[in-house]
């Protein structure tokens, strides 16, 4: 026991010296290591750079500096719990863990601790029902929206009918990858296509057998719910079996440059969902260049600027900043706490005019959050990879999801959660 106590004592000294209360403390549970780092790094960079911009250009939000404390989770739920506990004591305002597994774990904890949890485009889909999930926000779009948008796009491609078609879902065999299955099953009953489920186990570096199965069963379309190295491997394997790339659609987490570049020309024509624009053609980049990049204050290596996931990290940061502004306005003080931040999220309304003011015109969809609806409109676009220009091109506008199918599913799943955990409905 002697040794363990010595270690404990040392840890005690260290833990006591964690950073003191900051003005606006926003922890970033990021992952820059492990098999999911290709997705985690650009997101964390974009997230941090946007707050650096606010600090440098505007002196923070409402005069309060923002402190972004990074904590490495390696996409691992145990480390995620440790990071949450380590950072919440310093007055954390909001969590954005970029991991569906960690999100599931944090939902009861943040609800208990009164801290909002913002999971744009990931996490627990049924958290869109604000009546049950008071502290969780997943606007502007979630997995089920994504699944529905992909099917709607395919319906359009096929003149309104998917009768007799076969659609394969290649998914990460985890909570994240399984999320869309129920929606796709419901939609298959409605539209008459056949759904084929192809799970890929963590971390997804080995997919020969899955793609062999796809080659044998010849689905008309392949949808993918992948993340990290799994994406790049899947696109490479699809190219190897000469699967027509234009019939291969990834969710927005399977549509970044890091996923398609390794496959080279083979990835040409690959499509993915997009819940926001991408590239550097937005006015905000002029400010970022002036205040952040040229000042040498970029997060990480600074080589991810303008990529899809960098844009997404920036988008998440911008929405958090907007919510903080709203919270300051509602609370009448600039030094807000987590409960006020939550109210800010719930009252958040982002219009196209506001996005243009932020330097992001035509970047994302306008939405308004309410007590009942934490999920936003859920529309998404389709983008396609051009391997010669090394560029994503948007090929559709925003497509709205099929709420007729999704709303009952959200209600059913959130009601099950409420029953299991004895939660009463709010907003009545």
């Amino acid at each position: 026991m002697k040794k363990s106590f010595a270690t404990l004592a040392a840890a005690a000294i260290v833990a006591a010296a964690t950073p003191a209360m900051a003005d606006l403390n926003i922890p970033s549970l990021s992952y820059r290591t492990g098999p999911y780092a290709p997705g985690g790094i650009p997101y964390a960079d974009g997230f941090a750079d946007y707050f650096t911009l606010l600090n440098e250009r505007d002196g923070g939000i409402g005069g309060e500096k923002i402190v972004v404390t990074e904590c490495e989770t390696a996409y691992n739920t145990e480390k995620g719990v440790e990071c949450y506990e380590a950072t919440k004591g310093s007055g954390a305002l909001v969590y954005n863990p970029l991991s569906t597994g960690i999100t599931y774990q944090l939902i009861p904890k943040v609800t208990q601790d009164g801290i909002p949890l913002y999971t744009p485009g990931y996490g627990r889909t049924s958290a869109a029902n604000g009546k049950i999930f008071s502290n969780v926000f997943n606007f502007p779009a979630n997995y089920w929206d994504g699944a529905s948008v992909a099917i709607k796009y395919l319906l359009d491609e096929n003149g309104g009918s998917l009768e007799g078609k076969k659609i394969a879902l290649v998914y990460h065999n985890s909570a994240y990858g399984k999320e869309p299955i129920r929606t796709l099953q419901e939609l298959s009953a409605k539209h008459g296509y056949e759904l084929m489920e192809v799970p890929v186990d963590h971390p997804g570096q080995e997919q020969k057998s899955q793609w062999l199965q796809i080659r044998r069963d010849k689905p008309d379309y392949v949808l993918m719910w992948g993340w990290g190295v799994m994406n790049a491997v899947a696109i490479q394997e699809a190219a190897n079996i000469r699967f027509p790339m234009e019939n291969f659609i990834g969710v927005w987490w399977s549509g970044s440059e890091n996923d398609v570049l390794p496959a080279g020309d083979g990835a040409n024509g690959y499509k993915s969902l997009a819940m926001h624009g991408t590239g550097m053609d937005y006015p905000v980049y002029a400010d970022l260049k002036q205040y952040v990049y040229d000042a040498g204050k970029s997060a990480g290596a600074g080589d991810q600027v303008g990529s899809v996931l960098y844009s997404r990290g920036m988008y998440a940061a911008a929405m958090i900043a907007e919510a903080a502004r709203k919270a300051q306005e509602l609370a009448g003080t600039s030094a807000i706490n987590a409960a006020q931040m939550r109210d800010g999220f719930e009252a958040l309304e982002v219009t196209e005019a506001r996005m243009a003011e932020l330097g992001l015109p035509n970047f994302g969809q306008p939405f308004a959050v309410s007590c009942e609806d934490h999920g936003g409109p859920g529309a998404a676009m389709i983008q396609q990879w051009d391997a010669t220009a090394k560029k994503w091109n948007l090929i559709t506008g925003f497509i709205a999801p099929d709420d007729e199918v999704l709303t009952p599913l959200v209600m059913e799943d959130s009601a099950a959660f409420a029953a299991e955990n004895n939660i009463a409905e709010r907003c009545n």
């Binding site: 026991m1 002697k2 040794k3 363990s4 270690t7 404990l8 040392a10 840890a11 260290v14 833990a15 010296a17 964690t18 990021s30 820059r32 290591t33 780092a37 790094i41 990074e70 904590c71 490495e72 390696a74 691992n76 739920t77 145990e78 719990v81 440790e82 506990e85 380590a86 919440k88 004591g89 569906t100 597994g101 599931y104 774990q105 939902i107 009861p108 904890k109 609800t111 208990q112 601790d113 627990r124 889909t125 049924s126 065999n173 985890s174 909570a175 994240y176 399984k178 999320e179 129920r182 799970p199 186990d201 963590h202 990480g300 599913l409 799943d413 099950a416 299991e420 955990n421 004895n422």
Partner: protein, 358 residues
């Protein structure tokens, strides 16, 4: 000077066969218990409970379990993660099916169910040994993870395949769910660990433990002197799996609160616990504690030093952490192949002779 048998007279057989024959050891043991039960619960906060103590206590249970099988009975197992998953899913099913029953009973029942599964997968050990058995248990690992992913009944048909622990209480205090206080979590795990460690220590000192060790040291010789390999090996599998199942149930219900099988109970968990007992020392209860402490606390400590104190970038720190922990493991095993427990034993030998080493 203080650490010696001299002057400590034993006047009965009970005294003579006690766990800690040296007075100083006994007092140290009581002091550790007093601190663990009487001091820490009043000082503990969420961070200390969730990042340090609760994982340490739970991994210690799992390490004791694996040590019974591998360290005492000599049956190498790589199925620990899978057996923890059995404990977790059994606990989840019981918790949701019988919400009014105390969680303590569910945890113990989950251990019992895991014991049954462990015996089933222990059957091949009667025919195969060593590496071949390791491969058979590896199959158990992959099969169990696949099973819990594949059959929706195990996760109550939830959309994502995640299981999450609802609030359950012991004597009116919540020990699972988000409202649990740090000290309730800690005490619940500590009580179970204390009871199980005490039981394990006494089992291994008794006839059962001697049978296990006889099988471990040379199974043919053991059979000749009358040790039944069937009951001995299967009892080791059953008891080991019971411990691991309890650890899995606690890991899911008390520590994580939500889990998905591939991530929380994958093959890396089997290796982690195997490393714990190798570093701690095979065939020793203290070694299980030391190994669990080393593998749980070292990364947290290094992270706090490198990121919190020195202000390094998180990715650099994470990579350096892997290098340091890896180097420490190799260093320890080169200096002392029998693990931390052997270091402790040598220290005790030295203490006995001190201050006159010759």
């Amino acid at each position: 000077m203080f650490y010696r048998e001299a002057g400590d007279f034993k006047t009965s057989y009970v005294d003579d066969s006690q766990t800690f024959p040296i007075k100083f050891d006994r007092w140290r043991y009581y002091a550790v218990l007093a601190v663990a039960f009487g001091v820490i619960p009043f000082l503990i906060n969420d961070y200390w409970a969730n990042a340090v103590f609760v994982p340490f206590l739970i991994y210690a249970i799992a390490a004791i379990g694996l040590n019974i099988l591998t360290g005492y009975c000599g049956q190498v197992s790589l199925g620990t993660g899978g057996f923890m998953a059995v404990g977790a899913y059994a606990c989840y099913k019981l918790m949701t099916a019988f919400p009014e029953v105390s969680i303590l009973i569910h945890v113990l029942l989950a251990g019992g169910i895991t014991a049954g599964v462990g015996v089933l997968f222990g059957l091949p050990s009667l025919r195969i040994k060593g590496f071949y058995l390791a491969v058979a248990t590896l199959a158990a690992q992959f099969f169990l993870v696949w099973l819990f992913n594949k059959v929706p009944w195990f996760y109550n048909y939830s959309a994502s395949g995640q299981i999450s622990a609802p609030e359950r209480t012991v004597l009116g205090h919540a020990v699972t769910g988000a409202a649990t206080t740090a000290s309730a979590k800690y005490l619940f795990c500590l009580v179970i660990l204390f009871a199980l460690a005490w039981l394990a220590r006494n089992l291994t000192r008794g006839m059962m433990g001697r049978k296990w060790m006889a099988i471990r040291d040379m199974d043919i010789a053991a059979e000749i002197i009358g040790v039944n390999p069937l009951t001995t090996k299967l009892s080791a599998f059953a008891i080991s799996s019971f411990y691991i199942g309890v650890a899995g149930a606690l890991f899911f219900a008390v520590y994580l609160g939500a889990a998905e099988v591939g991530e929380a109970f994958g093959i890396q968990k089997s290796f982690l616990i195997l490393f714990m007992i190798i570093i701690g020392g095979l065939g020793s209860i203290f070694g299980s504690f030391a190994g669990a402490a080393f593998m749980v606390l070292m990364p947290v400590l290094l992270k706090n030093v490198l990121v919190g104190q020195l202000g390094w970038a998180t990715d650099l720190a994470a990579h350096v952490e892997l290098i340091i922990v890896g180097a420490l493991i190799m260093g320890f095993l080169i200096v002392e192949p029998h693990g931390l427990n052997q270091l402790w034993r040598l220290a005790k030998e030295k203490l006995r002779l001190w201050p006159f080493p010759h």
